[in-house]
């Protein structure tokens, strides 16, 4: 399913089905770079069934506010439209995958 940038208007539709990881990040956030690399290199190639949505909090402050994101990286995990968990801080691929299993 791959990785794409997501905007507020498309958000609800995009998380409605399947397994989704929403990655809230920003350019100047060091741990976000590591989080992005872990997802891109360790989850995306091996898990085509998971969709990864990137939210740049500088471009989409309304989405960050809607989910009360006060620290990044923050990940929100969805399964079949249900919010499974909102995780704050750098999180390893195994832990992310376990929560989506």
């Amino acid at each position: 399913m791959g990785v794409k940038d997501i905007q507020e208007a498309e958000y609800d539709e995009a998380v409605k089905t399947g397994k989704v990881i929403v990655d809230f990040w920003a350019t100047w956030c060091g741990p976000c770079k590591m989080q992005g690399a872990l997802i891109d290199q360790k989850i995306v190639p091996e898990h085509p069934e998971i969709e990864v949505l990137k939210v740049n909090v500088d471009d989409e402050p309304a989405l960050a506010a809607r989910f009360g994101v006060m620290s990044i990286p923050t990940l929100i995990l969805y399964k079949d439209g249900q919010l499974v968990e909102q995780i704050v801080g750098l999180t390893k691929p195994d832990e992310i995958l376990a929560k989506l299993a």
């Binding site: 060091g30 590591m34 994101v69």
Partner: protein, 277 residues
């Protein structure tokens, strides 16, 4: 196997990379969790030579990085979790799950805020408590924030947060805090030790003294009681492993010193490689 792997991408790591790359060694720089290092948190740098007008930390780092890339440094977004320096080949185990091997290693892993370990800190970490102004400052526009820390860095942090649109309601030394308080989801304030009063805030930033980020080394290198790597110049207790910047200096944590260390460490590593050890 690599000739030189550099751990860290602040001024020390970037300068080490520049010198090693210009010597034709194609070094690898592992960026680490705080890519660019502590300068990324500083908006006004007045004591880095060559910039008569004050300059932002991120712009210094960006320029250093461009220069290093141009010289041939290979940047890898990964962080070291543990090391094995027992054999002639140095091994680095990374967060990405790789084991990297090198003839020489330069540790330039820097320093980071010291956690207070006060009640509530772990619970509200990322839920109102942050150590990263540039990551999280903008979330507090129109909200009340406190600074927990001491020294000149708190003044810079206050300016930065004010510019983000936050209201800085207090600057409190870590020793004056009894606990961090909040509801089930989020921090709501901190309790002061002196009179038990509560300073209400939506968030707080730690701007505490800096601790060397050397835990991943375990006992592979000799360290002092605070975790600084013990060095002779930039030579560590293991031949072929060098260290540079804030991870070695108990007192002088300065970008220009880190950059100078990085150059020395690279030259030492090049000499070690030339000896064919």
């Amino acid at each position: 196997m690599e000739n030189i792997i550099i751990i860290g991408s602040g001024p020390a790591g970037l300068t080490a990379g520049l010198y090693a790359a210009r010597a034709g060694q194609k070094p690898v720089v592992l960026e680490g969790l705080e890519s660019g290092g502590q300068l990324m948190q500083t908006q006004h740098v007045a004591n880095y030579p060559g910039f008569p007008e004050t300059v932002s930390g991120p712009s210094i780092v960006a320029a250093m990085r461009r220069q290093a890339e141009k010289a041939g440094v290979r940047f890898v977004m990964d962080a070291v979790e543990s090391v094995d320096f027992t054999g002639p080949v140095k091994k680095l185990m990374t967060m990405m799950g790789d084991t990297l091997e090198a003839k020489t290693v330069i540790v330039a892993s820097g320093a980071g805020v010291t956690k207070t370990n006060l009640p509530g800190e772990a619970k509200y970490w990322g839920r109102g408590i942050s150590a990263c102004l540039t990551c999280d400052g903008a979330f507090y526009a129109g909200k009340k924030v406190a600074l927990v820390g001491e020294g000149p860095a708190t003044a810079g942090a206050k300016v930065y947060l004010t510019r983000c649109g936050a209201e800085v309601v207090g600057i409190v030394a870590p020793g004056e805090v009894a606990s961090f308080d909040g509801d089930a989801a989020h921090l709501t304030g901190l309790t002061l030790k002196a009179d038990g009063s509560v300073l209400a805030c939506d968030g707080l930033f730690l701007v505490t003294a800096r601790t060397p980020q050397t835990q991943f080394l375990g006992t592979a290198l000799e360290k002092d009681d605070k975790g600084h790597i013990v060095v002779n110049g930039t030579k560590t207790s293991v031949p072929g492993v060098y260290a540079a910047g804030d991870c070695i200096h108990p007192h002088h944590k300065q970008a220009v010193i880190a950059a100078g260390d990085g150059a020395v460490a690279a030259l030492e590593a090049l000499a070690y490689l030339a000896r064919g050890a």
